[in-house]
């Protein structure tokens, strides 16, 4: 529970800070924001005794079992070290920001984001599940993006933020892939399981891939060469952000990951060479470039890169002592780099610039800050009695006992000494150049004015810590470091004594050499600057922007090729994919013709089918003349009806016939509003493309149908045929399937029908067609609205048709017919009345509006189904019985009939709703009120 609080309290604090923010009162916001970290600090410290006793505190809740993701927290020595660093530095930065943001806007936003960031960092270090950790890992990338782009009105800030997000986000993706591979190899994402499976992983087939992916994640986050480029550009963030995220904490997340997974992934040659070479490259590049940066924060950013490289190199050497020294230096780096960044921020505020060619001689204006900076810079350079000296000396010692052999064995310490020399040079520069080196040159703010004295408190505390740790390390950091190293390495630690580090030995000599060399280099800086200026300049950000632009343009073009908003193209693409899929599936087929005997041909069927094909082709060829095409479509539908009738499907024939009538009426209605001809506008290539797509589709359809139809049938229909009479109580098997066996499907289908009808109703509701569609009055349309003969014939026909449909409905269970067909016949009969009389007249004759009819039909069908539940049988079980009624003889009554009645009502209601609403558009002024 404590662990959960540690991560969630800063989030709650962020909410609280945001909610209680008062304009212009930064002090209040700062106090509110500091509440959560103070409590968290206390909570973390309260766990210290247990950690000291060697315990590992864990807590776990279930989240997504299917992928092995749990809400798991785990606190051990390593997590403790990082948690203290995160919360402690966070508090100091918040104090610093209270003065930094005084009189500026955005202070509150900074606090909110910082608290969110703190929560995500704490989440990373205390996660007990690797997948869970990824969530926080991504959170830090996102918050970092927001904080770097803090001044979103400035272009460099936006670009820097984007560069960072792409690099760290990309690394995050790689890490995620790596973690998933680890999870698959180990069989669990749980940290304790993973840590116990070191041997499995190292011998795993995919170890090189896993290692590269994890390293990619860690290296991008920790700004290792060649991914270090984002860090200098992240300096567009406000200085408190640079202190906290880009020097003390976030960039250490990668290091944390390396340390955390050290027992699992390290101690292989691959780890040794890849990690240490990256570390060495980063160390040297960072140190070299830092010397030549004229921007204070730029210099510090590159020196951060260099120090991160140093720590990575130490971890990369894979020795147990290397890891201890790495962690020690990580702590020291936070202690001396933070005050330097803070100084850079203070000087920028007082002078208005960060350019060291203009900032000189600040000692005269702010001597106290000069002293503090001197201490921190000396520590960075590695002067004795300061913490930086200790870890750097241990680093030199480590390079001499590195596991390298041959040339590398002496090259490593030599390069390390060079890097040490460079670090002395840039440390000297940041101190001497800012505080001495002559007089200031045209500063934007003159005279420099120091912000509130309070801003110096965190700087003082941190610089003092450098001295304390430097003089008595064994009392202050030894315990913590030991705990962390034990947790990271497991097992016994090598013997070392932080208190004895000031002794004179070879590493001490190396430190001394680096010191003199570095100072000499600084003295000769003018000549070096001149040489450096002649080197070709590589602007990472420009290259990155160019790359992004190219990628963007490429993606845009690609998207346009695939998705340009043209329905025609989409359909063509869909068809093409379908053809390719089908083609691949059929590629292996050799024999089209199956073994079945073909049904014999007869002249009438041949004649009808040929006419069907002729009609279809006629539609395609003559589609520009729309009226003709519509008539031919209707004719094709009639031949389809005949095909059904010929091949033993009377129900289908009846349905198709009535549907065809309705469909043609509707299309006819629509055509009277649309242009009567289609303009020829397809280009020749387009027509060739369409013809080949259509041809291939038709060919495929024909071949597949032929291949299937000539093969023996294996159908489940025997089941239905055998049980239709005894269990369904009807001899028309198609109808029994519809209303009984597959009644649930039918219920769904009438619902779809109802929805379509209501959608038509909704779409035509506010549609005014008459004078808005550009059209010439077609010569096809009769001017007389309701011909006399039709009107006279229609009325006597109605009762007859209704009777026929009642007959069809009632016999449906045993003979061809049923609810669908009867419904359609009724609808056709009623729509004839609409055509014969006026819309208003016909509508006034209807006893009920249509929408309730649609709903009522579906409801009736559903209730019939529910009725069987009441009788203790499954949904939609039907019941039937035979009765002798006086005068009617033997009558069968079945609940299926009730269900079919529901189908009937829905079909009538839906069809008429569609038809009446489309017909409404015909009337000159519209009927004025809703129909149906």
């Amino acid at each position: 529970m404590t662990l959960l609080l540690i991560v969630t309290l800063p989030l709650l604090g962020a909410l609280l800070t945001w909610a209680t923010a008062r304009a212009g009162d930064l002090r209040f916001s700062a106090i509110v924001a500091a509440l959560a970290p103070v409590v968290v600090l206390a909570l973390v410290l309260s766990l210290l005794p247990a950690i000291l006793a060697g315990e590992v505190i864990a807590a776990e809740w279930r989240w997504i079992d299917a992928i092995g993701l749990t809400i798991a927290f785990r606190m051990d020595g390593l997590a403790m070290l990082f948690a203290l660093l995160i919360v402690g530095m966070g508090l100091l930065v918040m104090l610093y920001a209270r003065y930094y943001f005084a009189g500026k806007h955005g202070g509150c936003r900074f606090y909110v984001l910082t608290l969110v960031f703190m929560a995500s960092m704490l989440g990373i270090v205390t996660s007990g599940n690797l997948l869970f950790m990824l969530v926080f890992w991504e959170m830090t990338s996102l918050v970092s993006f927001l904080l770097i782009g803090f001044h979103s009105e400035q272009r460099p800030a936006r670009r820097g933020a984007r560069l960072t997000l792409v690099i760290t986000g990309g690394g995050g993706l790689a890490l995620m892939a790596g973690v998933i591979l680890i999870g698959q190899a180990v069989g669990s994402y749980h940290l304790s399981d993973v840590l116990a499976a070191g041997d499995t992983l190292r011998e795993h087939r995919q170890y090189p891939l896993i290692l590269s992916l994890v390293l990619l994640g860690a290296m991008t986050k920790s700004a290792q060469f060649p991914f270090h480029l984002w860090l200098p550009h992240a300096m567009t963030a406000p200085t408190p952000v640079s202190v906290y995220l880009h020097s003390a904490t976030m960039v250490k997340a990668g290091i944390f990951l390396l340390a955390r997974l050290h027992p699992v992934l390290a101690e292989t040659p691959l780890w040794l060479y890849s990690v240490s070479s990256v570390g060495m490259a980063t160390l040297l590049t960072g140190a070299f470039v830092a010397m030549f940066k004229h921007d204070t924060k730029g210099l510090l950013a590159y020196s951060t890169v260099s120090h991160l490289g140093l720590i990575t190199l130490l971890l990369g050497m894979g020795t147990r002592m290397g890891l201890i020294v790495g962690l020690f230096h990580l702590l020291n780096h936070a202690l001396f780099k933070a005050p330097l960044f803070m100084m850079a921020g203070i000087v920028e505020q007082s002078t208005g610039t960060r350019d060291m060619r203009r900032i000189n001689g600040m000692w005269h204006f702010m001597p106290y800050l000069g002293v503090l900076t001197g201490v921190a810079a000396a520590s960075m350079a590695g002067l004795p009695l300061l913490n930086g000296f200790l870890s750097k000396k241990m680093f030199f010692a480590e390079t001499m006992v590195s596991p390298f052999t041959g040339v590398l064995a002496w090259l490593t310490p030599s390069l390390a000494a060079v890097a040490g020399l460079l670090s002395v040079a840039y440390s000297a520069r940041i101190f001497h150049n800012v505080f001495f080196n002559g007089a200031p040159r045209d500063l934007p703010i003159w005279p420099p004015k120091l912000p509130g004295v309070g801003i110096l408190i965190p700087v003082t505390l941190l610089s003092a810590a450098c001295i304390v740790v430097g003089i008595v390390p064994q009392y202050v950091v030894h315990t913590l470091l030991k705990l962390a190293a034990e947790a990271a390495l497991g097992g016994e630690l090598p013997q070392y004594n932080l208190g004895l580090l000031h002794r004179f030995n070879l590493p001490f000599l190396m430190s001394a050499l680096a010191l003199t060399g570095g100072l000499a280099m600084y003295v000769a800086r003018r000549q070096l600057f001149a040489i450096y200026d002649r080197l070709p300049e590589v602007d990472a950000k420009e290259n990155f922007e160019w790359l992004m632009l190219q990628a963007g343009t490429f993606a845009e073009r690609l998207v346009h090729r695939l998705e340009n908003g043209s329905v025609q193209r989409y359909i063509a693409l869909v068809l093409l994919s379908a053809l390719i899929t089908m083609g691949t599936a059929l590629a292996g087929m050799t024999e089209w013709r199956g073994a079945e005997v073909l049904t014999p041909l007869d002249p009438m069927t041949v004649f009808g089918t040929v006419l069907l094909m002729a009609c279809a082709l006629g539609v395609a060829v003559g589609h520009r003349n729309r009226f003709l095409a519509l008539l031919l479509t209707g004719a094709a539908g009639l031949f389809v009806t005949l095909t059904f009738a010929r091949f033993s499907a009377p129900d289908l024939a009846l349905t198709q016939l009535s549907v065809e009538v309705m469909a043609v009426i509707i299309m006819m209605l629509a055509l009277s509003f649309l242009p009567q001809t289609t303009p020829p506008e397809s280009s020749v290539p387009r027509r060739v493309r369409d013809l080949s797509l259509a041809g291939l589709s038709g060919l495929g359809m024909a071949i597949v149908a032929y291949a299937v139809m000539t093969r023996p049938a294996q159908s489940i229909s025997g089941f239905f045929l055998a049980r239709s009479v005894p269990e369904g109580g009807g001899s028309n098997v198609v109808n029994v399937i519809l209303v009984d066996f597959r009644g649930f499907d039918t219920l769904g289908e009438i619902t779809v029908l109802g929805i379509a009808a209501v959608a038509v109703f909704a779409l035509t509701r506010n549609l005014q067609l008459k004078d808005r569609v550009p059209q010439e009055r077609g010569q096809y349309w009769a001017s007389e609205p309701h011909p006399m003969i039709l009107r006279m014939i229609a009325r006597p026909i109605l009762p007859v048709t209704l009777m026929v449909s009642a007959y069809i409905f009632l016999r449906g269970h045993n003979m061809p017919g049923g609810g669908f067909i009867a419904g359609l016949v009724t609808a056709v009969a009623l729509s004839l009345q609409y055509m014969a009389g006026s819309l208003a007249w016909a509508h006034s004759c209807m006893l009920t509006p249509f929408r309730p009819l649609v709903g009522g039909g579906i409801l009736l069908a559903a209730l019939t189904g529910l009725g069987s539940l009441a009788a203790g049988a499954p949904f939609l079980t039907s019941w039937f019985g035979h009765y002798r009624l006086p005068g009617l003889g033997d009558v069968e009554l079945a609940t299926a009939l009730l269900f079919d009645l529901g189908v009937f009502i829905t079909v009538v209601g839906a069809t008429l709703l569609i038809l009446a609403n489309m017909g409404k558009l015909m009337t000159l002024q519209g009927p004025g009120k809703e129909i149906g």
């Binding site: 193209r569 506008e681 024909a702 519809l738 959608a759």
Partner: protein, 113 residues
């Protein structure tokens, strides 16, 4: 007979697909109708072609496969509802976009140099 049936299917599909790929709404609606005929016949054909044997118990000695028929029956009705819906969509689009082009506007407008 199977050859003829398959050929009719192929022709219906060919015409339906060709019309679906046209640029104006009305031919597309016609194409959809033809294509749904083709699909219905295809499904129906999966039950094999049977002569003189409606799936009604007691009418003849053997029965045609009733299952594809039941499937196709509902497919016909729903196909009708869909046709009506598409027709109304086409009308609405013609009114609101003042054009019966399927895309409403020229899709390549922004990309012409």
């Amino acid at each position: 007979m199977e050859v003829l049936f398959a050929a009719a299917l192929g022709v219906l599909t060919f015409c339906g697909v060709y019309l679906i790929l046209r640029a104006r709404t009305f031919p597309v609606v016609l194409g959809l109708t033809l294509l749904s005929h083709a699909v219905n016949l295809f499904l129906f054909g999966m039950g094999r072609l049977t002569l003189e044997a409606p799936p009604v118990i007691g009418e003849s000695s053997h029965q045609a496969d009733p299952l594809p028929q039941a499937l196709v029956l509902t497919a016909i009705v729903i196909g009708f509802a869909m046709t009506a819906f598409v027709v109304v969509l086409a009308l609405r689009a013609a009114v609101e976009l003042r054009s019966d082009h399927v895309d409403g506007v020229d899709p390549d407008e922004d990309w012409r140099p």
